[in-house]
Structures are given as C-alpha cells and as structure tokens.
C-alpha cells in the first residue's frame, strides 16, 4: 500500500521535474517570463491521448506529442519575440487561456469537459508499462534523457548565447547573434519537453480533461523554478522533490481530501510570495528575474 503510494509520488515528481527543467530553459536561462508552459503540457497530453485512442503505437504518440508542442512553441515565439517583461507574460498567459478554451469547446475533438477516458498504458517494443512500477522506470528513463539533453544544451555555446540574451539582449545583438532565432529555439525546445511530459501524464493517469490544464497547475511549476533558483538545474531538482512532497504531508495530518487541494495551492502561493520577498534568487539561483 505505502509502496504503491510512494511509486505514485515518484512518478508525479518525475513529470513535474521534466516540466520544471524545461521551464527553467525559458525563464531561467533565456529570461523569458513564459506563462504558457501549461498550454504546451496540454497540447502534448491531448495529442498523445488522441493518437493513442486511435491505435497509434506509444512511441509515435510520445514523440509526436513533443513535436506538436514544439511546433506551437515555435508558432508562439514568432509574434511574441519583440515583447518583453510583463507584456510577454500576458501574451503567453493569453495563449494558455486560448488552448484551455479550445480543449473545453472543441467537443468534436476533445469531448470538452467530459474529457478523454481510457487512454492506454504505454507499451514499447513489446514491453508493456502497465504496472506503476514499470511506468516509474519509463519515467526515470525519460527524465534522465531530458536532463542530459537540457544540461548539454545550457552548457553549450547555444546555452551561453541564451544567457547572454537574458543578461543583455542588445549587447548580444551587437555581437552579431540572431537573438530572435535563439529565443524561438529556446521556447520551442522548452515546449517540446513540456509536450512529452504531457504525453507521460496522459498515459499514466489514463484520463485527461481541460481542468488538468488550468492556471492552478502552473503555480507549482513556477514555484519550483523560482524556489530552486533561476538558471540552476540542481536547484530545480531539489525544489521539485521538496515542493511535491511537502503538501502531501497535509494528508497525514488528517485534512479531508476536499480541503487538501485548496490548501496545497495556498501553501505554494505563500511560499512563492515569501521567496520573492526574502530570497529572490531562490536557493541555488545565480540571477534574479528582471
């Protein structure tokens, strides 16, 4: 019993981890205040679920979820490239709402508020990942690969250019870098990983509906990124573990489950406010948001 619960928590931590390190790529490394991450997560989840329900094998669903999300990330980056600061935040937030609105209203495709039930558990090369333990292993593999790719990216010359854009975009332009293109790549890559996280989520829970992809879901990821510290992958990993596990303790203190949801949000929001006031760089952060 307790084992099953722990495995469930670890899978959740895994999905949050992929979301958080990919968001780190845009907010932390490139300095783009991207509030559209949940939309890419939703696009990935819906793409993967719809394909799988139509009999497409998991591997293709999984990759297409990422590629589709990446495509939308690129699409979003083109018009928003000139915007900065709070205007970029608003535009990406607008994108989240438009995607939410479409998942809710395009009932012919997404079944709207009824959601998509019965998403098959993944199977790869004849191996089935239907038990939670095997799914955990699959999640671990995906995390490891994503982490290595992102770490490689941020350490590469490309990553350094992204950091330069964050610190001083004009100066980076003067040095002859095409900052628009770099920012587009960063947003698209980040969206790709959000998309595959969405695919994992859909195949793990086996049911998705629009309510899983609202602003409320953005708060935990944003808190993880900021508490862990901008531009720090290590901080993000530590923060994911701490922040996903922390509200779980509410269940053991004996709060009814109807109160756990709102309490969780209140805890996250309070942590976020306190961190912004008292420790704006987070615990392992190198830079401050501006």
């Amino acid at each position: 019993m307790i084992e099953a619960y722990l495995i469930h928590l670890l899978i959740l931590i895994g999905i949050y981890l992929i979301l958080a390190i990919s968001l780190q790529l845009t907010i932390g490394y490139t300095g783009l205040l991207n509030l559209g991450h949940i939309a890419f997560f939703a696009i990935g989840a819906y793409t993967s679920a719809l394909l799988a329900l139509n009999g497409v094998p998991f591997l293709i669903c999984f990759l297409l979820a990422g590629i589709f999300a990446m495509f939308f990330g690129f699409l979003l980056s083109v018009p928003t490239n000139k915007l900065k600061g709070d205007y970029l935040a608003l535009a990406t937030l607008a994108f989240t709402f438009v995607v939410y609105s479409i998942t809710l209203n395009w009932t012919g495709l997404t079944r709207g508020p009824l959601g998509l039930p019965g998403i098959p558990k993944p199977s790869l090369f004849g191996l089935s990942f239907s038990s939670n333990f095997s799914f955990l292993i699959l999640t671990l593999i995906v995390i490891l690969v994503s982490y290595l790719i992102i770490r490689r990216l941020v350490g590469s010359p490309f990553g350094k250019v992204l950091e330069a854009i964050r610190d001083d975009e004009l100066a980076t332009k003067v040095l002859g870098k095409n900052t628009f293109k770099m920012k587009s790549y960063a947003l698209a890559t980040s969206a790709f990983f959000a998309g595959i996280a969405g695919s994992l989520y859909a195949h793990y829970i086996t049911f998705i509906d629009p309510s899983s992809f609202t602003l409320l879901q953005l708060i935990p990821i944003l808190v993880i990124v900021i508490v862990g510290g901008l531009a720090s992958l290590k901080g993000t990993i530590v923060a994911t573990f701490v922040l996903v596990l922390l509200p779980e303790s509410l269940r053991f203190i004996g709060f009814p489950s109807s109160m756990v949801g709102p309490m969780r949000q209140i805890i996250y929001a309070l942590i976020l406010i306190l961190i912004l006031i008292y420790k704006p760089k987070g615990f392992y952060g190198k830079v401050e948001l501006e």
């Binding site: 205040l33 018009p79 928003t80 000139k82 915007l83 900065k84 600061g85 709070d86 205007y87 935040a89 608003l90 535009a91 607008a94 994108f95 709402f97 438009v98 609105s101 479409i102 809710l104 209203n105 975009e169 004009l170 602003l215 409320l216 708060i219 944003l222 900021i226 109160m259 949801g261 709102p262 309490m263 949000q265 209140i266 996250y268 929001a269 309070l270 976020l272 406010i273 912004l276 006031i277 704006p280 948001l289 501006e290």
Partner: protein
C-alpha cells in the same frame, strides 16, 4: 432583433468590464505593474455580500457598504504586506506581477476553503421580466448596472481631474521621481490607488453578484476581461481602459454571432493578442517602453 440585443448585451458587459479595467488601470498607472489579484478582490466582495446578506441576514444596504470597505482594505493590505515589501528591494515589475499572480491563487483558494466550490446566488433581486427596447430585452437590474457604472466612471474622472489626491496620482503616474521632488510621497499615492481601485473592484463585484451566480474562479475571468480592456484601450490610462472595455464587450457579444458562446473568453484573448502584437500601446496610443 438580434442586432439590438447583442448591442445591449455588449453594453452591459462593457459597463462591468469598464469598472474592472478602470480600477486595474489606476493601480497600473501609479505603481507600474500588472495587478492580477485585482480579480480576486472582485470575487471576495461578491462573496462578502453573499455571506452578510444571504447567510447572516443583515440589511442589504449595510452588506453592500461593508463589502466595498472590505474590498478596499483587502487591496490596501495586499499593497502594504506584499508589494511594498517588494518595492523596498527595488524589484522589477515582473516580480510584482508574479507576486500578484500568487496572491490571486492564494485568495481564490481561500474562497474555495471558506465558501466551498458550489455555485452561490445573492438572491436580493427576484428574477423580473425584462423591458423591451427596440425589440431587445433588458432587465431593470441591467439598466441599473449600466447607469451605476457610468456614474462611477464619471465620478472617477472628476476625482482624477479635480481633487488633490487625483492630481498627485496623475503626477506619480507621469513621473514618479519628479513627483517626489515636489513633495508627493509615492508610497502614499500607491496606497490611495489601491484603496480607490479596489473599492471600484468591490462595486463591480457587487453588481456582478446581483446579476450572476458566484463561483470561486469568477475573479480570474473578470480580471482577464479587465486587463484585456485596459491594454487594448491603452494601459495606464483610465479613459483608455473604459474605451477598451466597451470595445471588448461589443466584440465579444458580436463574436458569438459566429462562434459557439463557449468561445467568449477565447475571443477576448485573441483580441488581446492582436493588440499586443500590432498596437501594444493600445487605441489611445499611450507611450510606454514595451519593445526593446
């Protein structure tokens, strides 16, 4: 006539959005950040009205006044406890925006904890038959909403033009440093902006609460409309916010002539998007450094 009905619906929606947007814009103009939690001030005021009037059973007038005061105090407290602390460290508007977003989620969850998720109604005005105007139907309450919105916006305009605090607010919004040199305390002005802006939000919350049922996330959706109105009108300008809000009200209501009504929120966002991309300074063209 469908056309006049949509026109009237647009006017009613616009009247509410204008109240939301003008309070939001007032706060933006002075303290220069996007105050997301403005939406939850509206929701809280509706819920306080519901609680005092429908649950406790107090006199309606008293409940209304208390709800407005509550909204004002809530706004002021947010400013003093969170935003003032952040400003002390000279943080950027983006940090204030994230903090305000966190406050929105925090207070919205608090409403959920206190009042539960089920839909509530204030039930002060019994559903009355509508009046017919040029083939369209409008209820007396809706006429009251439109009139009170116009009166309030007029008062706000006079306040900004004639009173000492209003003038000081415009000075701070124009150039904070110069305003401080001539002896205006910007922190004091921020407090006033939050008090007045949140009071207007409180009134908007009451009007919405009379017209529709309450649910914990109502603040977020109204907030979206409010800042969309403010941005397309020209952010930081109260007349711009009012203009943008009415435009939004009309576009939304005429939009559902072509699209299913579920897309109403999406229409608002598409409009916001278009303005952010092509005319980020809004209709009135308020100059502000948006682009690098």
């Amino acid at each position: 006539m469908v056309f006049t009905q949509l026109l009237i619906n647009g006017l009613i929606a616009g009247a509410i959005y204008a109240l939301v947007a003008s309070g939001f814009s007032l706060i933006y103009a002075t303290s220069k950040f996007i105050h997301f939690a403005h939406g939850v001030t509206i929701a809280f005021s509706s819920y306080i009205l519901y609680f005092l009037f429908a649950v406790v059973g107090l006199n309606f007038g008293f409940s209304v006044i208390f709800a407005i005061i509550f909204a004002s105090v809530l706004g002021l407290l947010m400013n003093l406890l969170v935003f003032k602390q952040l400003r002390k460290r000279k943080t950027s508007g983006v940090i204030l925006l994230i903090a305000s977003f966190a406050l929105l989620i925090l207070l919205e969850s608090l409403i959920l904890l206190l009042f539960g998720a089920e839909v509530k109604t204030v039930g002060y005005i019994k559903v009355a038959g509508g009046l017919e105007v040029l083939g369209a139907i409008i209820t007396p309450l809706q006429i009251f909403i439109v009139i009170s919105s116009f009166v309030l916006l007029g008062l706000l305009f006079l306040f900004m033009k004639k009173t000492k605090i209003g003038k000081a607010m415009r000075a701070v919004s124009d150039n904070k440093d110069v305003a401080e040199i001539v002896g205006i305390s910007s922190e004091k002005i921020y407090n006033w902006a939050f008090i007045i802006g949140s009071a207007i939000a409180g009134i908007a919350g009451i009007l919405v609460g009379l017209e529709q049922s309450l649910d914990p996330t109502m603040g977020t959706s109204l907030m979206i409309k409010g800042f969309t109105g403010a941005i397309i009108g020209g952010i930081g300008s109260v007349p711009g916010a009012i203009l943008g809000s009415f435009l939004l009200g009309f576009v939304e209501n005429f939009g559902i002539w072509f699209l299913p009504s579920g897309y109403k929120d999406a229409i608002a966002f598409v409009l916001l998007f278009i303005f952010l991309l092509f005319r980020s300074k809004g209709i009135l063209g308020i100059k502000r450094e948006v682009e690098k």
